[in-house]
Amino acid sequence: MKNKKVFIIVWLAVVVLLGVLSVVVGSPGRAETVQETMRDAVLHETGQISLFGLKDVNPGLISAFTVTGILLVLAALIRIFAIPRFKMVPGRFQMLVEQAVGLFDNLAKNNSPWRHKFLGVYLFAAGAYIFVGTVFELFGVQAVTTAGHSITLPAPLSDVNGAICIGCLSYLVILSGGIAGNGVGGIGKTLKEFSLPISMSFRLFGALLSGLLVTELVYYYIHLSFVLPVAVGVMFTLLHALIQTYVLTMLTALYYGEVSEPSHKEKKAKKAKSAA
């Protein structure tokens, strides 16, 4: 009991001492102002990273490759070690994997019962990418910019190019559903929603960028760097990950189902044919 008290007192003393020192000592000076930091977080004009010496790219692209690598390695490990041991009555891990696959597959089935095989695969991949990509920023993986600064890799979709890629790709998937389901009529149906790629892209970009900016802001000031990052970093990031995954996959599934639904004229013609 006495040892425990001594430990707590020493521990608290060390924590307080380190806290005071970190505030009092200060830093050698900032390389950029908060405005510059936040502007760079949005535009990546200076904080770029070299892609194998071929081209300077935004850190988001490096994050995207890293996330893809992590996901594929994880998937390969699951494929090699877990899936062959799957049982009829699932354990916890098997249940988790099945739930992840079933969630997106059912989302596709429920929203587009007439055509959902490809949609299920796309939603699963996009969902996994957005969720893991958003949570990825929590791990604080470091990279070196072309200017020699060390930066933390952001979420891939906080890069406007990544967000535009996923937004436009989702729109193309919806368009493909329209063509597969209704031919030329499907193209018309999809083109009616011409604002979708922009809204999807910038919704993702805005949501993830706002998280990034809040985190940048919090870490910029040392006084805000205690306790608060736990809530800001973890809670906001996790919420973002869940919400953005749900929103993009749900919207894609919804529009896909809408444009790929066989038109009533075709149904009537089929019925008349079968009646004849």
């Binding site: 009829m88 699963f124 996994a128």
Partner: protein
């Protein structure tokens, strides 16, 4: 042309390239095998369910057939019972009738026998009466001489030499 927000088509294409690799890899490594396993399990339980349903239907059919058989057996038992009752009635009637007939026959025989006995006794009596009367008449006819044998016996008693 400067695109706002530092949008770069090449980087968008690189993101697309990255996502294509990810989607294909996840499909081959995770989505397809997991879904195949889930479908296999679904079909396994569907088969079990179908078999159970079939067995249930068979059992229901058996139950119905047994119920029908039980009903038929009950009806047969009732019919046989009624038939046995009727046969028993008939047998009872028959045995009663035969008993009545036998009794009548016995009575007739008894009556006949009694009449015959009566006649025989009457004849015997008449015969005896005739014999008695005959004997009495002979006795009367012989008078005081009496029976020679009697006479001999009497003489012997008296010690007569000519006896």
């Amino acid at each position: 042309m400067n695109i706002p927000l530092n949008i770069d088509w090449q980087q968008i294409l690189l993101h697309l390239f990255n996502f294509a690799i990810l989607a294909g890899g996840l499909y081959l490594l995770l989505f397809k095998p997991v879904k195949a396993f889930m479908e296999k399990r679904e079909s396994y339980y569907k088969n079990i369910d179908a078999e159970a349903q079939k067995k249930l239907q068979d059992a229901e059919g058996l139950k119905d057939s047994y119920a029908r058989r039980m009903q038929e057996a009950d009806e047969e038992i009732a019919a046989r019972k009624a038939q046995a009752q009727q046969e028993m009635e008939r047998a009872r009637e028959a045995s009663l009738q035969s008993a009545r007939d036998e009794a009548a026959q016995i009575l007739d025989k008894a009556r006949t026998a009694s009449a015959q006995e009566h006649d025989r006794m009457l004849r015997d009596t008449q015969k005896e009466l005739v014999e008695i009367a005959t004997a009495a008449a002979e006795k009367v006819l012989k008078g005081g001489q009496g029976d020679p044998y009697e006479q001999f016996l009497t003489a012997a008693k008296r010690g007569e030499p000519n006896a």
